[in-house]
């Protein structure tokens, strides 16, 4: 039997990167927490997991009516309903993931104040249930694209790229907001509003090509912009400019690092403030 590791307990200064290693040894926990959320999510609902499909359909239908029919926004040659659905599906994942990750610490007070584990497991696990919803609604979106006459092509490889950017951005933003939310409950009220704003700051109901050329690089600093354009453009066979996509990718990565760093800084005070 190998000698058990000695755990040192002392006041910490700054950020402890060793925690990321600990996170790996607790991967089972992330898995269990995530599956817990998935299981609980649709318990005691009549429609169950159908909600994962219904919500984007309803949202896309509403957008088609308001932005497609009434406002007559352009849709890059796609039928507006398909355009909207291809925007709404990844957007629903992003907003759902950010919202649930930002609530993850507060929702787990009982755990945080009573047992030790790398706290980063909480916002990460909170991404699980939205991911499952995404997988389900992705089938819907791609099915709709196929039935509208689009055929898989080389540009479909951009779909996972877009989703990866979206995931990194959601993880970083979620972790950072979760930490801030534990310190200041204002965040809880701010997040839904900020997500509402972000919906209009991202190419969900309109194409990014609507943004004037000279602002476009700045526009793609919003990682959701690159992610959505890669996703929708990939499916439709009209990929975005790789340079713009790179901006979004880099910005997602920066968001991830900043969010995790903020989280690790706040984390050691968590049990005392939650």
């Amino acid at each position: 039997m190998s000698a058990p590791a000695v755990v040192r307990i002392e006041p910490r200064r700054g950020i402890r990167l060793a925690e990321l290693g600990e996170l790996w040894s607790h991967r089972e926990l992330i898995w269990v927490l995530a599956t817990r959320d998935v299981r609980v999510r649709y318990r005691q609902t009549v429609l169950g997991v159908a909600w994962a499909v219904l919500r984007p359909i309803l949202a896309a239908a509403l957008m088609t009516l308001v932005f497609g029919r009434l406002a007559k926004l352009p849709s890059e040659g796609l039928p507006y309903s398909l355009f909207a659905l291809l925007g709404v599906v990844p957007w629903t994942f992003f907003s759902g993931a950010v919202a649930s990750a930002s609530e993850s610490l507060l929702g787990a007070q009982a755990l945080v104040t009573r047992v030790y584990f790398p706290r980063l497991a909480l916002p990460l696990a909170a991404l699980g249930a939205p991911l499952v919803d995404l997988a389900v609604s992705l089938v819907l979106a791609l099915g709709f694209a196929l039935s509208s006459g689009l055929r898989p092509s080389a540009t479909w490889t951009l779909v996972p790229v877009g989703l990866a950017i979206l995931f990194l951005a959601a993880a970083g933003l979620g972790a950072g907001l979760a930490a801030l939310n534990a310190l200041f409950r204002d965040v809880r009220h701010l997040v839904p509003f900020a997500l509402q704003l972000a919906l209009y700051a991202s190419p969900v109901v309109y194409p990014a090509s609507l943004v004037p050329e000279r602002y476009r690089a700045a526009y793609f600093l919003n990682p959701v912009a690159g992610a959505l354009e890669a996703f929708r453009g990939g499916v439709a066979g009209s990929p975005p400019d790789p340079a713009l996509l790179a901006i979004s990718g880099a910005s997602a990565l920066a968001l991830l690092i900043a969010g995790v760093a903020l989280f690790l800084r706040v984390e050691r005070r968590l049990a005392d403030v939650v």
Binding site: A3, P4, A5, V6, V7, R8, I9, E10, P11, R12, S25, H26, E28, L29, W31, V32, L33, R36, R39, V40, R43, A110, L111, V112, T113, R114, V115, Y116, F117, L183, F184, R185, D186, R268, R269, A271, D272, V273, V274
Partner: protein
């Protein structure tokens, strides 16, 4: 000798009225500005030291009782050792995996079934699915919840909940097991089972830190104790010596009641300050069920009361067993300090932990002050554990009665 735990100068400071949980952003900014402008030493927020300069060692395989009055720092110490909260200064080393059972049902999700919760808890303790699966049957058998494994735990009784929580923590074979007060819940049979399990954990060479007000359990289980007082470690050594010290600590200046616990219109006019237990003329921490018990309630009346009744009540599992008074109704109470005495006969209470309520009222509901939970009262086991599954419950009622066989009369059908 290998050390399982070594603590050096551990200290933990909490801010009073400082960063409150869930404060709003503008409040925080305001508080920071005020703090900055206030001269040092005259700051609006005070600090309290929940732990100060605590150093001790625990050898591998030792079972150590941690005792101390409420607020002595026991829970804070366990939280620091469990890495739930960081020490303000000092350091500690823990060898191996530490599992803590600090509260009933830690990390249980009410919507999930018993089975799912076992895996969730195991994962929180850092175990893999396979390791948990290997011990699953043992856990379930110990907790006696086989039939309800696939029921969400929100439908569990508190007893079942408790059993499952203890079973998980006790069967996951941590190197160090930290247990806080769990024996205060659950029935006597379950408590005995838990003690047995902790004994076998100890025998298997694992280290156990055991916090309890149940001195009989500490005696049975632990060879040595750590006594905390006001956030400091004041004793670390053999169990009898330590418990004697703790009991003296309780007797002297002990039994202070928390003012905030009381409510009612008379709360500011009638202040109840102390409740002490006395048996055979000596103050005690735990009650010997074989001797009569006196409860001494001290307090202060801010003015003369023409008539005032003082009472205590005993609760068990949230159920009021009885209320008793220090005399007939309608007695006057003069301004100033008073001491009121309540007598309970020998052999009334069975071993276990009770909650004491106390208060006073003007007859005819003309104003009152009351608290349901001013202190706990522990009745210890007497001699050998002589429970044979017959004498259950809180009060001792010996068999009184008789039995006879009844010959059933044959009833002939009534004639129309």
């Amino acid at each position: 000798m290998t050390l399982a735990i070594r603590a050096e100068g551990l200290a933990k400071r909490y801010r009073l009225g400082g960063h409150r949980p869930g404060r709003l952003l503008y409040e925080e900014i305001g508080a920071r500005l005020r703090r900055r402008s206030a001269p040092p030493g005259d700051r609006p927020d005070g600090w309290i030291w929940a732990l100060s300069d605590v150093s001790f060692e625990v050898a591998e395989g030792e079972v150590v009782g941690v005792v101390g009055r409420n607020g002595a720092g026991k829970s804070t110490l366990l939280r620091v050792l469990s890495r739930i909260t960081e020490p303000t200064s000092g350091r500690a080393e823990v060898r191996g995996r530490l599992a803590s059972l600090l509260e009933v049902g830690t990390g249980f999700h009410p919507e999930l079934t018993g089975r799912e919760n076992v895996f969730l808890n195991g994962a929180i303790l850092g175990l893999g699915r396979r390791e948990i699966a290997a011990r699953f049957d043992e856990i379930v058998a110990f907790a006696e919840v086989e039939r309800f494994l696939d029921t969400p735990v929100k439908h569990y009784s508190s007893g079942m909940f408790m059993r499952l929580a203890f079973a998980v923590a006790a069967h996951l074979e941590p190197d160090v097991l930290v247990v806080d007060e769990v024996l205060a819940v659950g029935d006597a049979a379950f408590q005995r089972k838990c003690l047995g399990r902790m004994e076998s954990i100890a025998e298997s060479g694992r280290t156990v830190l055991f916090v309890s007000h149940n001195l009989a359990a500490v005696r049975t289980l632990c060879a040595s104790v750590l006594v905390l007082e006001g956030g400091r470690a004041v004793f670390r050594g053999p169990v009898e010596e330590g418990l004697a010290r703790y009991e003296r600590q309780l007797a002297s200046g002990g039994g202070e009641l928390e003012r905030a616990a009381f409510s009612g219109p008379l709360a500011s006019e009638l202040v109840l300050e102390r409740l002490r237990l006395r048996q055979a003329g000596r103050e005690v921490a735990a009650v010997d069920p074989g001797l009569p018990l006196e409860l001494l309630l001290e307090g202060r009346a801010e003015h003369d009361f023409r008539s005032l009744d003082l009472a205590i009540a005993l609760f068990r599992d949230g159920f009021r067993l009885f209320t008793c008074h220090d005399g007939p109704s309608g007695q006057p109470l003069g301004a100033g300090r008073f001491e009121s005495r309540f007598e309970l006969p020998a052999n009334l209470l069975r071993p276990g932990v009770y909650t004491v309520g106390a208060g006073g009222q003007r007859p005819g509901l003309g104003g009152w002050v009351w608290a349901d939970d001013v202190t706990r009262l522990e009745v210890s086991e007497r001699g050998a554990m002589e429970i044979d599954g017959r004498d259950l419950g809180a009060l001792t009622v010996t068999y009184a009665g008789s039995r006879r066989s009844v010959v059933e009369e044959r009833v002939s059908p009534a004639r129309p």
